[in-house]
């Protein structure tokens, strides 16, 4: 026999196995969603939710599954097309029936989507798609499905919100009415002007530190590590909080100035009126600017550091041998080579500033920006979904434009890849005053950052920063010492739990998306690619508003559940997963997989025995980073959490809103320490594994 591919017998046909799984799910799992979740439902509620307790759309699913078991078209030459058609029909049918009957679908129904997706993948593979590989076909279907369902569909709902009004009438011009409406233009201008200035500041500082670290002082390696970790482990509004501690109305700077120049101050004569009063100058444009610059400079630094260190020193040497001075070399060679990186970093700064939610929320004052206004439009009394959707669309468009520019315009202008092999050589000194300038700025920055983080760590140990500096453990006791059911513990555990569930899923789905988009050609790859790009570009608040709009009606009723919080974690962190998947896969030659395939391993087995072992370091870092990022995320989930699913960041924001800065800061520093511990621990473990393998390889 020449081939190993015999046609499976009736009993061994994988379609039958899918059907059995589907039927089991129909019998065992609740068809309808449970109002209080699977674990908190009463027995009666559970019974009531089963598909077989009532006449509902589950009957249709059962009929389709039985049809697949019998498969009367088994002998037909069209059998694979019929399989594919019927599975699509079943898929659509369940959704249509459920929406018509207004049923919120639960786990039992979710399983059916996997079952019919699996059968569809088998049928398509048997028709010769994707090299006839059912697993890969399934993976592509799954990834496309996820992108359509969790990205395109929710985003499309915010668009529909501005086309159809609350009464259901068709209002095609509403978006334009809203966008030109009162106050919106000012908000957009606020956001944009802030982003433009923040982008410039973060890029400038990032460049200064990159030059300093790469060219001036080699004893800077520790700072690089700190810079790479800091933005990841700092909850987004904690920097804002520490700015309030230092510069706020009752902040340290005000205290000092007051002691010097205020009523009865050191430099003010007795009986004379002081020149200085307490003022809330930190709230508003400059406060947000400062917080965002502090938050995003590390990102810009990392990006430019990569650029600076890959410039081929031979270029500068060539310039110097042609009698150019230090300054001319920097001006005409080094700087132009860095220009694409600078543009890139600028756009990244702009996008991050536009999307930032935490800092403006804490420091904004009267200075309204889009990200926070989306939120304020639908909390409290307003509940103006059309306004939120309009702002969401505008914010998404700004952010997407920036991202497209970065990807398609600047991406093509990078010189670094063109220069090819580095040729030994060592870097020349930069012009003297550039070196000095960089050093001064870097030192100021380091001191400033140290003071800010110091205030975060210390702020939790005094009664009331700015008013009463008596040392106290009261905030810690209030949060942590009242038993696991009280204070910060419930939200802490919820955060850890959600992050622990979300992180591995993020890494897996990210890897799968990276895999199918970089390794496979298939119709619709561009759509998945575009969906992945939206993941990168979409601001968290836009995800928040779109998820609220998309998942609050049957058949997919997810708002209020833990699932939607975990899903939003996953979508928010998808860039981490995709990026580490793409860079990891780029290290693995495609022929390794092909070698495994021609050794007759299935593609599933190939992934497990060849791809995953080689990707292990990339996967672990993806899991860790998305775990840590989940713990600090706030913008999307603030729309989605309920009292039961409160997480650490929303709890802290609650404390901030109550004016309870002591507790907020105390919780913030515990979070930072937790995450630092996780990062360092895993770093240690990976480092150890790496050396072990090296030793093993040379034994």
């Amino acid at each position: 026999m020449a081939s190993i591919a015999a046609r499976p017998s009736f009993l061994r046909d994988p379609i039958l196995r899918w059907c059995v799984a589907g039927l089991l799910a129909l019998v065992l799992l609740p068809w309808k969603a449970l109002e209080y979740g699977v674990f908190d439902a009463t027995a009666d509620e559970f019974l009531d939710a089963y598909g077989w307790s009532h006449l509902n759309s589950s009957l249709f699913a059962a009929l389709c599954l039985l049809l697949f078991v019998l498969r009367p078209w088994r002998g037909s030459p069209l059998r694979h097309k019929i399989d594919a058609g019927l599975s699509v029909f079943a898929f659509a049918g369940i959704l249509a029936l459920a929406s018509w009957q207004n049923e919120a679908l639960g786990w039992g129904a979710a399983v059916q989507f996997f079952v019919f997706g699996g059968i569809l993948a088998l049928a398509l593979a048997r028709m010769g798609l994707v090299q006839g590989d059912p697993f890969m076909t399934g993976a592509i279907l799954l990834v496309s499905g996820l992108v359509l369902f969790f990205i395109f569909w929710p985003v499309s709902t915010i668009f529909s919100k501005v086309i159809v009004n609350d009464q259901g009438a068709y209002t095609p011009l509403m978006f334009f009415k809203m966008i030109t409406g009162f106050g919106i233009g000012r908000i957009m201008w606020n956001s944009l002007s802030l982003a433009i200035v923040v982008g410039a500041a973060t890029t400038f500082l990032g460049l200064v530190f990159a030059l300093f670290a790469a060219r001036i002082s080699q004893k800077f390696q520790g700072l690089i590590r700190i810079f790479s970790i800091l933005p990841v482990i700092t909850p987004p509004f904690v920097i804002g909080l520490s700015l309030i501690l230092i510069f706020g109305r009752n902040g340290s700077i005000n205290d000092i100035l007051l002691a010097l120049f205020g009523d009865g101050g050191l430099f003010v004569g007795a009986g004379q009126e002081g020149w200085f009063e307490r003022s809330p100058y930190i709230y508003g444009f400059w406060g947000i600017f400062l917080a965002q610059t502090l938050s995003f400079t590390p990102i810009s630094f990392m990006l430019l550091m990569g650029m600076v260190s890959t410039i081929n020193p031979a270029m500068e040497e060539a310039s110097l041998t042609m009698r150019a001075s230090d300054w001319q070399t920097f001006r005409y060679v080094t700087f132009p080579l860095l220009r694409p990186g600078i543009a890139n970093s600028y756009l990244l700064g702009v996008i991050s500033s536009l999307a930032d939610f935490g800092n403006p929320l804490v420091l904004g004052g009267d200075y309204d920006v889009m990200a926070t206004e989306i939120y304020f439009s639908i909390v409290g009394a307003q509940l103006d979904y059309a306004r939120a959707a309009t702002l969401g669309i505008a914010l998404l468009m700004f952010s997407l434009t920036g991202f497209m520019l970065q990807r398609y315009w600047i991406g093509k202008k990078s010189y670094v890849t063109v220069t090819g092999k580095g040729s030994g050589g060592s870097f020349q000194r930069l012009p003297r005053w550039v070196e000095r300038g960089c050093a001064v700025i870097a030192i100021i920055w380091i001191i400033f950052t140290a003071v800010l983080y110091g205030s975060i760590l210390l702020g939790g140990f005094v009664v009331n920063w700015g008013a009463d500096y008596t040392p106290t453990l009261a905030h810690y006791e209030e949060l942590w010492a009242r038993g696991f059911g009280y204070g910060a513990w419930p939200s802490y555990f919820t955060t850890l739990g959600f992050s622990a569930v979300g992180a591995p899923l993020t890494a897996m789905v990210g890897l799968l998306i990276a895999y199918v988009t970089t390794r496979r050609r298939f119709a619709g790859r561009n759509i998945v690619d575009f969906g992945a790009m939206i993941c990168f570009a979409i601001p968290g608040t836009v995800i928040g508003i779109s998820y609220i709009l998309a998942f609050n009606t049957a058949p997919v009723l997810l708002t209020g559940s833990a699932a939607i919080v975990v899903i939003s974690f996953i979508v928010r962190n998808m860039p981490v997963g995709i990026r580490s998947g793409v860079s990891g896969l780029a290290q693995i030659d495609k022929s390794l997989e092909e070698a495994s395939l021609t050794q007759r391993a299935s593609s599933l087995r190939t992934i497990f025995t060849v791809v995953l072992p080689l990707l292990r370091p990339a996967l672990i870092s993806a899991v860790v980073f998305s775990f840590v990022k989940s713990m600090t995320t706030v913008s999307a989930i603030i729309f989605l959490v309920t009292a039961d699913t409160q997480v650490a960041t929303t709890y802290i924001l609650g404390r901030v809103e109550d004016g309870d800065y002591g507790q907020a800061i105390c919780y913030g520093s515990v979070l930072i320490v937790t995450m630092l511990a996780v990062v360092l621990l895993v770093d240690r473990l990976i480092g150890k594994a790496r050396t072990e393998r090296k030793i093993g390889a040379h034994a």
């Binding site: 010769g128 090299q131 021609t598 593609s603």
Partner: protein
């Protein structure tokens, strides 16, 4: 090792498109059981695509691929009885040599003891006995190449595929590996398909050479016939150097000749089907020989434009009434300086008619 019966491979009207780009435009190819067939052509001609279609790493857009008498057109790579040696070797860096070679057996759930024996056997056949527990990065390029061959051999596949297997080796090693691959192939009788862009390699290892051009087959045949009887200027110049000239085909007394300038060159059976009249011919540079003007019968005259000494031979650029000719004259023959007049004669073995 019990040897399987050799079976052939055939491609029937295979078309492969990537998007709107047609890479193969209707390939018909028969590969005889037990033979070694080389796919030869410039980069982008579609030779590697044919290999990948046989492996199942790509599926044809239309047309069929047969292994033996079974249509495998829609079977995936893991369902086909083929093994492949990759250009980059594609050895798994996280496995030892033994694990790499035994990978296919493990996939097929061969018990560990039998697996170890067969791995040792396969490594022995490529001269790497005892290398089982080494890691890949501890091997030289030539050793890695041998591991890759052992990994393909161990499955005793019906078809072995080689994708430019020697391109990463230096010249000396390349010749030795080339001979080893040929020897192993003949010992095992496994039908093999071999992709290369090096015509010397192709001529040295093959039973049959397939010259490809722009997604189609330019010519198929055993190495000698491709070298001596190319059917087109493309094949003639791709299989070594050739002078392409206008000439006239003559038929006298059932014998065919070509008149090339003042020379009459007998063709034997090389142009059996062609009518008399103007034709184009390809002349191998080593088929030209030089002598002093007026020193003998036949031939035509020209003068030396330039020459280059390359050790085993001397290369001449010649001019004959404005027609440029390239000649390679073995060391030992008289040497002519640039500007010298020479008589040029043609050895009929090195002449082929390549079209009218």
């Amino acid at each position: 090792m019990e040897r399987k019966k050799s079976i052939g491979v055939s491609l029937r009207n295979v078309v492969k498109m990537f998007g709107n780009n047609t890479v193969l435009n209707g390939i018909d190819l028969e590969i005889a059981p037990g033979s070694l067939t080389t796919l030869l052509g410039p980069s982008g001609c579609g030779k590697t695509t044919i290999l990948r279609l046989i492996a199942g790493l790509e599926l044809p857009t239309s047309g069929q691929v047969f292994i033996g008498d079974e249509d495998v057109s829609t079977h995936s790579a893991s369902q086909r009885d083929v093994a492949m040696v990759f250009q980059s070797y594609a050895l798994f860096p996280h496995m030892t040599v033994g694990e790499n070679v035994g990978y296919g057996l493990k996939v097929q759930k061969v018990p560990p003891t039998e697996r170890a024996a067969r791995v040792a056997d396969a490594l022995g056949s490529v001269g790497l006995s005892g290398f089982e527990s080494r890691f890949i990065d501890q091997l030289s390029g030539g050793q890695q190449q041998r591991v890759a061959v052992a990994r393909a051999l161990i499955l005793e596949p019906h078809v072995m595929l080689f994708d430019e297997p020697l391109s990463n080796l230096d010249t000396k090693l390349r010749r030795q590996m080339r001979d080893d691959i040929r020897r192993l192939q003949q010992e095992t009788g496994i039908t093999s398909v071999y992709v290369t862009h090096d015509q010397n390699e192709a001529l040295a290892v093959s039973d049959q050479v397939v010259v490809m051009k722009e997604g189609g087959i330019a010519q198929i045949g055993p190495p000698e016939s491709l070298y001596h009887r190319p059917n087109s200027a493309f094949v003639a110049t791709f299989m070594g150097d050739a002078n392409i000239l206008d000439a006239e085909l003559l038929r006298e007394d059932n014998e065919a000749f070509v008149r090339i300038r003042q020379s009459r060159v007998p063709l034997g059976d090389k142009a059996a089907e062609m009518p008399a009249g103007p034709v184009r011919v390809a002349i191998r540079p080593e088929a030209l020989s030089l002598s002093a003007p007026g020193s003998g019968e036949g031939g035509f005259t020209g003068h030396v434009t330039s020459r280059a000494y390359i050790g085993s031979a001397t290369e001449y650029l010649l001019d004959s009434d404005g027609e440029e000719l390239f000649a390679v004259i073995p060391a030992g023959a008289p040497v002519y300086a640039p500007g010298a007049d020479v008589r040029i004669t043609i050895d009929p073995v090195g002449v082929a008619v390549i079209g009218s």
